[in-house]
């Protein structure tokens, strides 16, 4: 068949036999066990599962914040085990955008300055950085709040600023750990609508952890984790 002749695109994220074990004193606590996973470029994937099932741990491995005990983590064709701490920092700056549950904005910086932070790691000029910041804030609909600081904004607005920060470098991969966990229904919907835009219009690869079934519905694909095992 001719369909077989077309090679499938290489996955954005590939996990092979990944396990993670934490050591508490003399006791070894297995958190992830033999996880095999592939996420295609441009996919929107959600992970669900009970508290403590290892969702955040899995996300940390994919985003290069943590290393597996065994197995291979490959992102955008790169085996992350090959990178040292400094190279991993540079790699994250170039390839990953982060959205945290508690936004993790810097309260003494304005929205624009917060969004600009990841751009300071690129060789862009000040004028170019300004343009990118403006564009990112425009995507999240906060162009009118550039000069405002996080304490002057609602939780939903802060999370949208954080999303602007995650997309401003145009990363391959956007990682979101319970991005709506601290938001009310309406603000959560706004954030999820934005994720839809990132997915459909900007063709970003999105990996999200959530407890919220409404949020998971927005994803193309939902994986369930149970005691460290992918169902």
């Amino acid at each position: 068949m001719s369909l077989e002749a077309v090679p499938a695109p290489p996955p954005m994220v590939r996990l092979e036999g990944v396990s993670k074990t934490y050591r508490r004193g003399t006791v070894e606590v297995p958190v992830l066990e033999a996880v095999d996973l592939a996420i295609d470029p441009g996919a929107f994937v959600a992970f669900m599962g009970p508290s403590g099932s290892g969702k955040s741990t899995l996300l940390n491995l994919i985003s290069g914040l943590d290393q597996p005990t065994t197995g291979i983590v490959e992102v955008a064709g790169r085996n992350l085990a090959e990178l040292n701490d400094r190279e991993l920092s540079d790699w994250r700056a170039a390839h990953v955008g982060f959205v945290f549950q508690l936004y993790n904005l810097i309260p003494v910086l304005t929205a624009a300055e917060n969004v600009e932070l990841p751009l300071l790691l690129t060789p862009l000029s000040r004028a170019e950085r300004r343009k990118h910041v403006a564009a990112a804030l425009d995507v999240v609909g906060l162009s009118h709040r550039v000069g405002h600081r996080p304490p002057q904004m609602s939780g939903g607005e802060q999370q949208r600023v954080a999303i602007a920060r995650a997309i401003v470098t145009d990363p391959d991969l956007i990682i979101a750990d319970e991005p709506t966990g601290d938001l009310d229904r309406k603000a959560a919907e706004a954030v999820l609508d934005l994720f839809g835009v990132l997915h459909h219009d900007l063709h970003k690869t999105l990996v999200m952890v959530t407890h919220d079934p409404h949020a998971a519905e927005r994803a193309e694909r939902v994986h369930h984790l149970e005691k460290g095992v992918l169902q």
Binding site: N60, L65, D66, A94, L102, N104, L121
Partner: protein, 384 residues
């Protein structure tokens, strides 16, 4: 690089602890620079004293009159030098002088005072020494004149009073001033009477007034080369500058030592503040590391913040020290130098040193907190 305004605003956000830390650093820098300015002031005040046409003769190698000795014969020989100026009666303006310490009662205690045995030429050769009351002591008697700083320092130290030392009585017949110089804290008596009372047949030093300051260099060489004695001559201003530099160095060393000890406290303060800054901003630092800032950038950021604290302290201390320019210290009682008036003299070097000192304290205080911030595990920091 993490932008510097992030650090500046974070410091401003906790302005109470920032302010107190800067104040602590500033106080240390203030002490540091004020002491250096004081030592400077002493040097310039005392070095200003003395007449360039007057030569002080000391035993070769003696650092002060107290440890010097000059034979009576040597003084007679010096008087024959062609460069020596003459007084109104044609007498050579050369005076042998004897310097001893006498103990005058002050309350329960005794006060060490410099007594200078003088000859009439001692007054003639030093026009800056002027009687402000009474008269000069008559030669060959126990009469004394007091420097005005001594008046009232001891119960009998007044015009018309009678001092007792070396088992003799010494009536006070005059009080003199000496342009705020060190002589104002001396008592002057007849050199021969004082020598007799203290069993000292010779002099400590000799004062030689030359016709002109231009003769000084040649005169110094002749004294140096004369085989009849082992003496050296130096211009009076040089002698006083040397005396001042000893005192100034002492103040400098003491001041630097005190500053160093205080600085340990200030560095500790900066360290505590920076640890608190890091602790309250762990989640922010974790975010910065997650989005790709290297450990080194976080380290540099915390160090930069601490440098800001230190520089602010340095600036505050230096500005504070500058205000002492308008202060004048009139009484500083040292063993031999009492009642000298001098001010705090700033120099660009001292102000630069103050800024550097403050910045240095910031740097040292910030190092450990910065290392801690750089070593944070990203995951632990993000969980905070």
């Amino acid at each position: 690089m993490v932008p510097l305004f992030y650090n500046a605003r974070s410091l401003w956000a906790r302005r109470l602890s920032t302010g107190l830390t800067v104040l602590g650093l500033g106080l240390v820098v203030f002490v540091f620079s004020a002491v250096l300015m004081l030592a400077n002031g002493i040097e310039s005040a005392l070095a200003a004293g003395g007449d360039p046409a007057n030569a002080v003769i000391l035993r070769k190698g003696a650092t002060s009159e107290l440890v010097s000795g000059v034979e009576r014969d040597a003084v007679r020989i010096l008087a024959t030098d062609p460069a020596v100026a003459s007084g109104q009666q044609g007498e050579p303006l050369v005076a042998g002088e004897l310097v001893v310490l006498v103990a005058l009662p002050r309350g329960e205690q005794a006060m060490n005072t410099t007594a200078r045995g003088v000859e009439p030429e001692s007054f003639t050769a030093r026009p800056e020494v002027r009687l402000i009351s009474g008269r000069r002591p008559r030669p060959g008697t126990n009469e004394v004149a007091l420097g005005r700083a001594l008046v009232g320092s001891s119960p009998d130290a007044t015009l018309g009073g009678e001092l007792r030392f070396a088992q003799q009585r010494w009536p006070v017949v005059g009080v003199f001033e000496a342009g705020a110089g060190a002589f104002e804290s001396e008592l002057w008596a007849d050199a021969t009477r004082l020598g007799g009372a203290f069993n000292r047949p010779g002099y400590s030093s000799a004062l030689v007034r030359l016709r002109s300051a231009e003769d000084m260099a040649a005169f110094e060489k002749r004294v140096e080369a004369d085989p009849r004695f082992t003496l050296e001559a130096k211009p009076e201003p040089t002698y006083w500058a040397e005396q001042a530099s000893g005192l100034a160095t002492f103040i400098r060393v003491l001041g630097l030592f005190v500053s160093f000890v205080f600085s340990l406290g200030a560095v500790l303060g900066a360290m505590i503040t920076m640890y608190a800054q890091v602790a309250t901003r762990i989640a922010e630092l974790g975010m910065l590391r997650a989005v790709g800032f290297r450990r080194r950038s976080v380290l540099a950021s915390v160090v930069a913040e601490s440098l800001m604290l230190g520089a602010a302290g340095g600036l505050l201390g230096a500005l504070g020290a500058l205000t002492t320019r308008w202060l004048h210290v009139r009484t500083l009682n040292f063993q031999t130098f009492s009642e000298v008036s001098f001010g705090f003299t700033p120099t660009p070097g001292i102000l630069l040193g103050a800024l550097l000192f403050g910045t240095m304290m910031g740097l040292i205080g910030g190092l450990l907190p910065a290392l801690r911030a750089a070593r944070l595990s990203i995951l632990d920091a993000l969980r905070a």
